[in-house]
Every structure is written in C-alpha cells, then in structure tokens.
C-alpha cells in the first residue's frame, strides 16, 4: 500500500519540521536515490539484502545529514522559506543525478527477495502479495519504534521539548545543538527505511519518482496540518486509500488530479489542515 509510504515520508518530514524548523522538500528524492543506491548494491552483490538494505539506510542518513550544515545559518536566522528553496534545489540536483548516472537514465527494477520473494496470500479471489504485507508491517513497526523513542526515552523527550519551546529547552540546559543534528540522522534513518519499503511495494524506481513522492508528502503534510505527526499518519493512509479508489473507479491518469484536488479543497476550507498546524 503506497499509503504507508506517504505516512512514513510525511511523518519524517513533519518531525524534522518541528525540531529543526524547516520543510525538507527533497525528502522524496532522498528516498528514491537511496533506492537507486540499494539497487546498485544489490546488483553488485548478487542480490544480497545484507548489503543492499544497510546501504539504503546509510545513504539516506548521509544525504539528509548533508543538509544540516547547509541549512544551519538559515535555520539560525529562522529563514524557513529560504530553507525550503534550498531543499527544492537539492531535490532537483538529486533527480538529475538519478537521471544520468544510473542505468542510463532508465527506471530500475527490484526483484526477488526485495519483493517478498514473489509470494502471496490468497483468500478466494483476493490475492495479497507478501511484499505488501511486509510493507504494512514494516511501516507499523517503524512507527511504533519511532513513537517509543519520542515518548519513552530521555533523548526523545528532549527532542520534543526542543520542538515545543526552544527557549525553555536552552534554559533547561538540554543539548539543543546535538538534538537538532540527531533529528537529521533520525529523519535520514526513516528515509532509508522508507526506501526499502517503497522498493518492496512498487518494485521499481525512476528518476521523476523522487519529485512525485516529495510533492505528495507535502500534500499530506498540508492536508493534516504542518508538523502534526499523528495527523500525517491518518492523512497519509487516507491519501493512499483515495488514490486506490480513484485508480479503481476512474481512469488511472486522473488519480493524481483527484487525490491532490481533494487535498487542495481541504486546505482551502481548513488552511491549517485537518488536525491543525503544529509548526
């Protein structure tokens, strides 16, 4: 279910937004580039997941971490729009890299173990592929671990405090700078996991896919309310469901128009999103 992917992407971007103060518009491109790099590693290692999966995660963390020093000065000056533009540019660069340096610019395919081994469960006429089950379970697991981190650990609570009230966090002597850098690492980690699950769900990756994911991620964020993590879960799934219904009942080419159109109307009626903005 691509809904899970939208959820993970939007939750990660919302998290970075509340802690670091800007929208990481290149998150989708980071995810897809991590997919490409995993594909490359899988190709070179003969399909070994032990090589491919960790590489996706490390690559995603590295790509997100690069943005920390790049955006630091802008973040200190609360230049949110400029940060957004910087990440848009970063995303474009990543897309170009994907268009030229991998597979002669052609889309890449994931096969075998990366797609759940092609197994599926069958209930009469309904067939659910193992890949889809892994994706949904993987998403749930990640969300559970992430929530546990934020609500049950000292570092997680410190990060929430930084997100909530930076001035108070400083006064309490919380490690604000360290927490901020760690938030980039965590966002990168989430991106890496998203890449793995996306590869499993979709089975392929293409250069434009990054931009599409970023765009839908932003749509989900606005739909739910910027910075609203729980809202991103609900709205990401909702968007996934809306898209599936549209593909099923309308012409496929209209999917994006219908789903994003619904998001657009929601924002017009409730500018702060369904759940209210937290950023």
């Amino acid at each position: 279910m691509t809904g899970s992917i939208y959820v993970l992407a939007a939750v990660a971007a919302n998290f970075l937004l509340v802690v670091a103060g800007f929208i990481e518009f290149a998150h989708g491109e980071v995810v897809v580039l991590a997919m490409y790099l995993a594909w490359m590693a899988l190709g070179l290692s003969g399909g070994s997941l032990l090589v491919g999966l960790p590489l996706a995660i490390i690559a995603a963390i590295a790509l997100t971490l690069i943005l920390e020093p790049l955006t630091r000065r802008l973040r200190q000056n609360r230049a949110a729009i400029e940060c957004l533009i910087l990440t848009v540019a970063f995303g474009l660069i990543l897309t170009e890299v994907m268009s030229h340096f991998f597979n002669h610019g052609m889309p890449v395919r994931f096969t075998g173990a990366m797609r759940g081994g092609g197994l599926s469960l069958n209930f009469g006429l309904i067939s659910i592929s193992a890949a889809n089950i892994y994706v949904v379970l993987g998403c749930l697991l990640v969300l559970f671990l992430f929530t546990s981190f934020l609500y049950r650990t000292k570092q997680g609570k410190a990060m929430r405090a930084v997100a909530m009230n930076m001035e108070t966090a400083r006064i309490l002597g919380l490690p604000v700078a360290r927490a901020t850098v760690l938030s980039f690492v965590i966002t990168g980690l989430l991106a890496g996991v998203t890449a793995i699950l996306f590869a499993m769900a979709l089975g392929f990756a293409s250069a434009p896919l990054g931009g599409v994911l970023s765009f839908k991620m932003l749509a989900v964020m606005l739909f739910a309310g910027l910075g609203h993590l729980a809202g991103a879960v609900v709205c990401g799934l909702l968007l996934g469901v809306i898209e599936s219904l549209t593909t099923g009942y309308f012409i496929g080419a209209w999917t994006d128009a219908v789903s994003l159109g619904i998001v657009m109307f929601t924002i017009m009626l409730r500018p702060k999103g369904l759940f209210g903005s937290r950023a």
Partner: protein
C-alpha cells in the same frame, strides 16, 4: 555575609549589548551560599538581562562572571546548567504540550543520580502538582504553572536558583503563596537570586538587594536598609519618605 569565603556567584563589571543598545552598563554583584538576594527595578532596567547573562543566554561583551570560583563568562548554557545554576524563566516557560511529570523529568535531564527522592520532595511541597501529574502543563493555571516552573528548577538540584519575575501575571493571593514558597526554599538552604518588579514583596522576603536603574546598579544593601531608604520608598514602594 561575604567575608573570608569566595562568593558562590560573582558578577564583575558586566556589559551586555542587544545589538547597539547597551542593556547592562557595568553591573557588579555577589551572591553568597545560602543567601536570598533580590534584584529590583523598573521594567527594562536590566534585571532579567543580568540573569540571562549569568546563565549564558545573553553573552557578556565585557566583564566577568564566576561561579563556585570558576569563570563562566563565555561558557555554554548547557555547561552552566550542569555546574548547578537553574533559572525559572519569565513567563514560566512551561513545556505546554507535555504533562507535569515530563516537565519535571526534563528539569533533571543532566542528573545521573536517582531523582526519585527529589521528585517526592517536590510533590510534598506542591501537592497540586502531584494531583495533576498527568495533566498537560498548558492546562494549568498561572499560579500552578509558576509552581511547576519552580519545581522543575528544583529537580535540577541547583546550587543557585534564579527566578525571573515569578509574580508577573499572578493574582495578589497567589503572589502571597508564591513568596511563602520562595522563603520556604531559602529556609531549606537554597541560594536564591530573584529578579522582581514587585519590590515590596521582594524586599520583605530577601536578605539583600540590588536596585537597578537603566542598566546600572543604583543602590545595594541589606533589605532593611533599602526598605527605609527614601529614594527606594518613593520610586518602588509607593510611599512617602
């Protein structure tokens, strides 16, 4: 009183600039272990800025600040908090989206020892906080949030407890309770540095005071002497000389 012992906190000729504006123009003060010192003065006279400079939130461009005999003038806030200075900020600074217990927990972030006993003490002193442990800090009343802010600072087991205008925005009855709490803390052995606009209450409770005027210290001394000073009475105590 200051004598053969090094003061707990020594601020020496500190200047602080906000851009081009000089907010502190050579401020010097001292706090000894166990003392309750208050900074009084009008809005914008530099009391808050002094507390912020001590904590490291506002860098001092000139002068020096030392705590426990060590220089902390250009030290990071995180390090200063670890050394034992806690600030109860102006406006309480509650982490509104977290509950009372979590706020208190974060007050003790830097401590490595068992904070259970201190949490018990805090709940005994402020039963309201014990009752509302799981309630969001943002849903507490002004007076309760002020208690939470003080309790949170106490959780750090600070050697110096600084408070910035705690009575601001509180009803008179609540202010009375607030000062009872603060003097209670002093009696328990906390060293307190309090910046207050409510000069009357501050001068009734503290040991010594410094009177701020446009970024400078105009007068200092034991509170009994300040209370009977005609200028202080006229300017801050609404009284006739």
């Amino acid at each position: 009183m200051a004598g053969n012992e090094t003061p707990l906190l020594a601020v020496d000729q500190v200047h602080v600039f906000y851009g081009r504006i000089e907010a502190l123009k050579g401020v010097s003060l001292e706090v000894d272990r166990g003392e309750f010192v208050t900074l009084i003065g009008a809005n914008g006279s530099g009391k808050s800025t002094t507390l912020k400079a001590i904590l490291g939130l506002q860098p001092a461009s000139r002068g020096s600040i030392s705590f426990l005999g060590r220089e902390i003038t250009r030290t990071a806030v995180e390090s200063i908090v670890t050394r034992g200075i806690a600030l109860v900020p102006e406006g309480r600074g509650s982490l509104a989206g977290m509950n009372v217990a979590e706020n208190l927990e974060l007050g003790a972030y830097h401590r490595r020892d068992d904070t259970g006993p201190d949490l018990e003490k805090v709940f005994q002193r402020f039963p309201v906080l014990a009752q509302k442990q799981h309630q969001l800090a943002g849903s507490l009343s002004g007076g309760e949030q002020q208690m939470l802010a003080i309790a949170r600072a106490m959780m750090a087991a600070p050697k110096l407890l600084m408070m910035d205008e705690p009575s601001l925005g509180l009803a008179p009855i609540v202010v009375g309770n607030l000062f009872k709490t603060i003097t209670g803390l002093r009696d328990e052995g906390f060293t307190i540095l309090l910046a207050e606009q409510n000069a009357a209450k501050a001068l009734q409770s503290a040991d010594r005071g410094y009177v701020f005027e446009t970024g400078r210290i105009a007068l200092e001394g034991r509170v009994e002497d300040l209370r009977s000073d005609p200028n202080v009475r006229r300017a801050y105590l609404g009284g006739q000389a």
